[in-house]
């Protein structure tokens, strides 16, 4: 009886470990395929959308990278926005840094074309993205540098409170309390 049990358990263990090996091998193959796609995107060749849709966030990040290289900013932005809160902290910091670069590059282009109204909000968004990236990974020197570029482009000033603000208020209050002219009697 014990021999029979041992025999059965040996076969079960063999089946389980072999299926584990098969699963790991399949995973390795999948990772290899995805890495090939990432390399292809980085070398400047597009891949089919359906391969990216169900895939890992790294694939989308690679596709956004590709779009940015080709100056297709809107598509890059929509792709990046899908992976913002995916992956681990390091990955999120990377995604936010790339998002900052995306905004800043557009802001610089708009500023060059003297479209200041478009450039200002874009720079603000870039700064916000870099700040978030640095909060996640304070050792990201590229983000530090580019944040400084953005901050020089749109310097931040403390709001200066005018010392005579209060007296102005008082004056305006005075005016509102001045009574109108009395109506004459009929």
């Amino acid at each position: 009886m014990i021999r029979r049990l041992r025999h059965i358990s040996l076969w079960t263990a063999l089946t389980v470990s072999l299926s584990g090996a098969l699963y790991s091998a399949a995973m390795l193959y999948g990772i290899r395929q995805d890495n090939d796609l990432i390399r292809q995107l980085m070398s400047g060749k597009d891949v089919a959308v359906n391969k990216v849709i169900g895939g890992e966030p790294e694939l989308r990040l690679a596709r956004a990278f590709y779009f940015k290289q080709k100056h297709r900013y809107d598509e890059a932005l929509s792709t990046l926005s899908l992976v913002m809160d995916k992956g681990d902290q390091k990955f999120q910091a990377k995604a936010r840094y790339n998002l900052g670069n995306l905004y800043l590059e557009q802001a610089i282009q708009q500023a060059k074309a003297m479209n200041i109204n478009e450039a200002l909000p874009l720079t603000g968004l870039a700064k916000q993205a870099y700040r978030q990236a640095l909060a996640l990974d304070s050792g990201n020197w590229d983000a530090k540098y580019n944040l400084e570029v953005a901050m020089r482009l749109l310097p931040e000033m403390d709001r200066i409170d005018m010392p005579d603000e209060e007296s102005k208020n008082q004056k305006s209050q005075l005016w509102t309390t001045v009574p109108g002219f009395p109506r004459g009697l009929p």
């Binding site: 076969w11 090996a21 790991s24 995973m27 890495n35 790294e58 990278f65 944040l147 570029v149």
Partner: protein, 291 residues
């Protein structure tokens, strides 16, 4: 007189601090220079209180933005007995044009003593921040020089490799053992024929001569692949020439076995049994290749 003097002095030593709620207070900060935009600055405040005094954690600065250029990213309070260790992690976002002195604002930590509340001041701390870019920034071909995008990371496959290696490492010995059980390694079993025979012989004595002879016969048979008789020994030597060196002993064995089983009144002697054992040991040596 001397004792009196010591008592007076020790009383004087205590009198200054006995009514102070905080027995130890220290602010530990790193170097006050060499920071750049986006750096994190840690600050550690250590407070040791007198008994009955507790820290009011609500009085510590809140996580988040402190002012336009300063964020408080993390605040942890560790308490061990009456000792409080407050770790603050600030992050600076400021782009100075030249080395600029900035100040981490001070605050007041509130300590509770029953109904009473006592304030302990944490002083402001000044440090200098350096710019990362030159004043007139260099230009690249595209205009403003920017650091490039960070390339997307490749997917890590270490986990899958570990899984594959581990499952194969488990599967291989199981498969080998099963193969052994199913008789897939006939050479291996043939190489342990006399090992097993020796083990059986070890448990026998001269009174079990019949069993001992059977064991050796059985071993020789399984080595030969078919029953081995004295008349077929030459065939056996042709197939296993290494056993020729114990030819004399084998012949003795077959004669002895013949006499034991087929003639009456045979008395077994300890010496015969020892010789049987010797034969088996010789065979074992040949089997494992050491002779």
């Amino acid at each position: 007189m001397r004792i009196l003097l010591i008592m007076v002095l020790s009383l004087l030593g205590c009198s200054g601090s006995i009514d102070q709620p905080v027995s130890y207070f220290n602010v530990e900060t790193p170097r006050p220079f060499g920071y750049v935009n986006g750096d994190e600055i840690p600050q550690r405040i250590v407070i040791e209180t007198r008994p009955g005094i507790t820290l009011q954690t609500g009085s510590l600065p809140a996580k988040g933005s402190i002012n336009r250029w300063l964020n408080l990213n993390q605040i942890t309070v560790k308490q061990s007995g009456r000792r409080y260790q407050i770790d603050l992690l600030y992050q600076v976002f400021y782009a100075p044009l030249e080395v600029k002195s900035l100040t981490l604002p001070g605050f007041t930590v509130q300590l509770n003593q029953g109904e009473k509340s006592i304030g302990q001041n944490v002083p402001a701390w000044s440090f200098t921040l350096s710019p990362l870019r030159e004043l007139v920034a260099r230009q690249s071909e595209q205009g403003e020089y920017l650091r490039p995008d960070s390339p997307p990371p490749l997917l890590a496959n270490t986990q899958a490799w570990y899984g594959l290696t581990a499952s194969l490492a488990i599967a291989a010995p199981i498969a080998t053992y099963l193969g052994y059980l199913y008789g897939c390694f006939p050479n291996m079993t043939r190489r342990t024929v006399f090992k097993r025979a020796l083990r059986k012989l070890a448990g026998l004595s001269k009174t079990d001569m019949e069993q001992a002879l059977t064991v050796i016969h059985h071993a020789l048979n399984s080595l030969n692949g078919q029953p081995l008789f004295a008349s077929r020994l030459s065939d056996f030597y042709r197939r296993n020439p290494q056993y020729l060196q114990i030819k004399a002993q084998l012949v003795w064995f077959f004669n002895y076995s013949n006499r034991y089983f087929f003639s009456d009144g045979m008395i077994t002697v300890a010496q015969d049994f020892q010789q049987l054992k010797n034969l088996c040991e010789q065979c074992r040596k040949i089997e494992r290749g050491s002779r």
